[in-house]
Amino acid sequence: MSVKYIPVQWNPNKWLYDAIMLGGMAVFLWVFLYVSPESLSHERPVNPQIHNARAFGACAFVMLTIILAIGPLARLDDRFLPLLYNRRHFGVMTAFVGVTHAGYILNWYFAFSSSDKYVGLLYANSSFGQIAGFPFEVFGIFALTCLLILACTSHDFWLKFLTAPVWKRLHYLIYAAYASAVVHVCLGILQDQQNHVFTVIVLVGAVSVSALHLYAWYATRENSVGAASGSWFDVGQPQDFREGFAKIALLPSGDRVAVFLMEGQLSAISNACAHQNGPLGEGKIIDCLVTCPWHGFQYDVRNGQSPAPFTEQVPTYRLRIENGTVQVHTDANAPGTPVDPTPLPVSEITA
């Protein structure tokens, strides 16, 4: 945010979100540990250390599954967007749960060796040449490392410092983490299941997440761009625009432009919010300001600047109407550059 950084930004919605998340975690752990040991294949006696390790490991896997499902669901249906807003808190808590799982494992299976327990973890199983008995621990270590990187770089400072595209690329590690966690589970605890309840939970969760991501990608992919004449690019006809809303154009360069109609005039800004590259063109204009649907950052569509005291800026674009077609210049102006709005012919304005 473009005010002084604070450790954690709270608001009533985040309190509620986190309360529900922590409540869900507590219920999951309670059910796992005390309510259903038979259905979770704990009928054979295990000591509390192992039982806790399994409970926290299962909890981390389920939380990771939910986190991975939120993204595509929000992409497919706006009603899931509130779950997306505070997903970083969810991710940080998942990393804590994962660390707790690892802590129980390390402090039980590797704590009584004469060698260092971290060395023991890496050394104890080296059967890399076979699938059955493969050292599944390495997949867990990799997944946990990814989760820790994501959790440790979740503060808004990192977004601004690394820039949203770099930050997003770094946070693509979540896919690697989940895939690795699935391998960790499949080659690990699933090999020891006498009862298939947890097996079914893992399979349904992992397959659902994979299918959701593939479907969301397929349903929202963009294959084609409109016509370009020189440096000007066709956005649409004047009657395509609706007062207070935007039409989004994909330029040949791959950049997206949001062209807004406000008070009968058109203005164009980058579709990517300066915060997390959220889709500004999916926001609505209120009092000259468009609000990013992801995290509420606001910009004046005539100059791409956030209202004071905020300092975020996005690039602006020049517009023209040529032969009855609205066109945008493919070269972006520097972030925060004012551009005079382009009036639409009065007969073409729709409310």
């Binding site: 410092f161 896919y175 690697a176 980058s270």
Partner: protein, 122 residues
């Protein structure tokens, strides 16, 4: 054992270098590159674990900002296209992991009583 010890030592060395980077970055570097961090100190300790883990990236961005060598438009280039590749890779690994995981399960698909296939001591 030697290889495992070497990995642990490498991780420790990585962390030490990260600490060496974190100190100047959090004491004066961050004030030079981010106006929102000036006079804001309470949040800085939260950044230490991140710097320990990704210090090469921190050094690269620190240098980029100080030298103004980064193209401003790159900040607004959405990385959405990578989602399809990431989704396909993840789904492939998930399916392969499930197939291999279930195929080597010794008690799958149903439990059966253990049978002694040779005499004791043989």
């Amino acid at each position: 054992m030697d290889f495992a010890q070497a990995i642990v030592m490498f991780i420790q060395l990585w962390g030490v270098i990260g600490a060496v980077v974190a100190l100047p970055f959090l004491v004066f570097g961050i004030d030079r590159i981010d106006e929102d961090a000036r006079d804001a100190y309470v949040f800085r300790p939260l950044l230490i674990p991140g710097i320990l883990m990704i210090w090469p990236l921190v050094l690269w961005r620190w240098w980029q900002i100080e030298s103004e060598s980064s193209a401003w438009m790159s900040r607004y280039r959405v990385v959405r296209k990578a989602h399809g590749i990431a989704a396909m890779l993840m789904a492939t690994v998930v399916v392969v992991a499930i197939i291999f995981g279930l195929s080597v399960r010794q008690t799958w698909p149903a439990d059966f009583a253990p049978q002694q296939i040779s005499e004791a001591g043989q």
